[in-house]
Symmetry: C2
DNA sequence: ATTAAAATTTAGACAAATCTAAAAATAGGT
DNA sequence: ACCTATTTTTAGATTTGTCTAAATTTTAAT
């Protein structure tokens, strides 16, 4: 597997899709920051290797083997992110770039030992689940903060947008995973929210709220 | 810098050489496990980037900039090797391959944090010195065991051959860095040695002795 | 000084991954 | 059903790093 093939598989996985709703060439091209014609070439190559199903003009979907491979890359990416944060004091907005490189290191033993060193974490620094060796991962019952009703309480468990600017904004406003949240008020005008978080009260825009995942209290 | 360029620089560094005694095309080709014609192409490219001095038919030597780059790759390689042994319980015969990949990860912060986590080690698991950020490294006063005279004592501080088979052989015979060594007898016939090591007595061939570095006691 | 052997370079080709421009297929609106 | 806009594919070129085979230069022996 080349690095490029691995990146395509990862992106196809993240775009979702299935046999019945394949991923389009353009969607992949946009995520890969490449041209559709390049995607077509790669689609053929991956199909040749039985990693994707591909029919001309009909888009691409992962085979079982392709899914397995994608999950193993994602596993490595997220474990390295945890390593960087927990063991090397990286902040959560710095880890993605480095993990993009580290995810391609080829050594089963290495990633298993990292997993062990970290005591088998189930989620990465952004709240995304870490697949196990056999490709299974926790699906956490979570919803966007923007979809919660007034008065409801929960715990912040993840971010939808994990770009550095958004993560830095959260840091600046002392919003972090694990914090408790209660929705106090939702403005009709702009859908901004007034929330209580760890004793404080703050106002956040609809855009922020629609990029924060919350686990609702029972 | 591409991965290939980095590997060429590293190998040119390891081959020694200087402005007056440049490294030959064939020597590089052999180490890189590639063809001389490929080396010529790369020599031109590296010369273009001012990383080596290159004159047709006259071989290659590193510029100051090339030396700096080579040392930074070697620093990364050796720090990762220490990390694998100390933090992930790899054995010293398993680390080289993985370090060959990890040495190409591009992140200053990452390698500095690894350095810090390891408490700034000065030598790698094979006894080779780890260059500092600014490219300086300890030159240890050491000699080959095969060059020691009868009766002299020392401490085993490094291996010349760090291939897995040799390292495994040392493990099997409980020869490790840090162990004390005294030369008891040298056979005229085959130059094999009888040595005392950590209380035991053992016999080792000339070939083994000429791949073990010892720091002589004053 | 000649000459043969060895080392090195050049020329031309190839695979991987990408691009641009043109052609083909599909999808959506009327 | 038809036409047009969009999507996707093809064809051909480019870059990087490699190769083989042929040509050139160096070296070392006579
Ligand atoms: Mn990430
Ligand atoms: Mn990647
Ligand atoms: Mn090594
Ligand atoms: Mn390398």
């Amino acid at each position: 597997m080349t690095r490029s093939e691995e990146n395509y598989l990862k992106i196809i996985f993240h775009l979702g899709g299935s046999d019945s709703t394949p991923i389009t060439t353009n969607a992949i091209a946009e995520q890969m920051e490449t041209k559709p014609s390049s995607v077509t070439d790669m689609a053929k190559k991956l199909a040749e290797k039985n990693l994707v199903k591909y029919k001309r003009y009909q888009g691409v979907s992962l085979t079982e083997q392709g899914t397995k491979t994608a999950l193993s890359i994602i596993r490595k990416h997220r474990l390295w992110e945890v390593f960087l944060v927990k063991k090397l004091d990286f902040s959560w907005d710095e880890v993605h770039e480095v993990a993009e490189q580290l995810e391609h290191i080829k050594s089963e033993k290495l990633i298993d030992k990292i997993d062990e060193l970290l005591e088998f974490p189930k989620f990465d620094p952004h709240g995304d689940p870490i697949p196990s060796k056999d490709g299974k991962f926790m699906v956490r019952d979570k919803q966007l903060l923007s979809e919660m009703s007034i008065g409801s309480k929960g715990v912040c468990v993840g971010v939808k947008d994990s770009s550095a600017p958004f993560l830095k904004f959260l840091d600046k406003n002392k919003i972090a995973l694990g914090h408790t949240i209660q929705v106090l008020e939702i403005e009709d005008f702009d859908h901004s929210l007034r929330i209580a978080m760890e004793g404080r009260e703050l106002r956040i825009s609809h855009q922020i709220a629609s990029n924060l995942y919350v686990k609702k209290n029972e």
